[in-house]
């Protein structure tokens, strides 16, 4: 079977609370992670929610990377969606885990768009 895309579902747990609530920091490490994955950044957007939490998306030529953080639960939900075999998701995931100081990181992958 052939598929058009791969989607990595990443659960970052036991992160540094302060970092999860800093939209500038989140934007910076998301951008860095896109570069480390060999992705081509098209557009990015980060938003801080009140009283806490950050949401952000980086649209890449290969699809997207996005994040939602829950500082009050030391948790971040991250997705990496790619339609390119040359995107190195592992590099991005490792960079994000290290940067967020996440003690636990669970990643699963699902295929998208079966080519019939």
């Amino acid at each position: 079977m052939k598929f058009l895309g791969k989607q990595y579902i990443i659960e970052m747990k036991e992160c540094n609370v302060k970092l999860l609530n800093d939209p500038e920091f989140i934007g910076k490490i998301m951008y860095e992670s896109a570069l480390k994955a060999n992705a081509t950044v098209v557009q990015q957007f980060f938003h801080q929610f009140s009283p806490f939490g950050v949401s952000g998306t980086i649209v890449i030529a290969e699809s997207h990377i996005n994040i939602h953080t829950w500082p009050e639960h030391k948790y971040a939900a991250i997705d990496i969606f790619t339609c390119s075999d040359s995107l190195n998701a592992e590099n991005a995931i490792n960079h994000l885990q290290k940067s967020l100081e996440a003690k636990q990181c669970n990643t699963s992958m699902i295929h998208r768009g079966e080519v019939l």
Copy 2:
């Protein structure tokens, strides 16, 4: 078990090819779908790839809705991520399926962020 978010993974197949390659149309129906889901739109971004395909994200207060289209395969990958129980994902999915004239729509749901 309690979770922080729900993520709907939507596979739209056998869509109208012309519509899938029209970023204005895609932006319009994504925005409408957010409203139909009772979501609060924060920001939106749509991008047309060369020679074809559209990627777009709507950041909503409840998390995000995004889309990637492959006109050449009559296919769109859509995700709806919500941290709110009041978001009506079904309404959004029905609107998108109808608008894209998708003959087939497969939806699965995954929980995100288990609260320990």
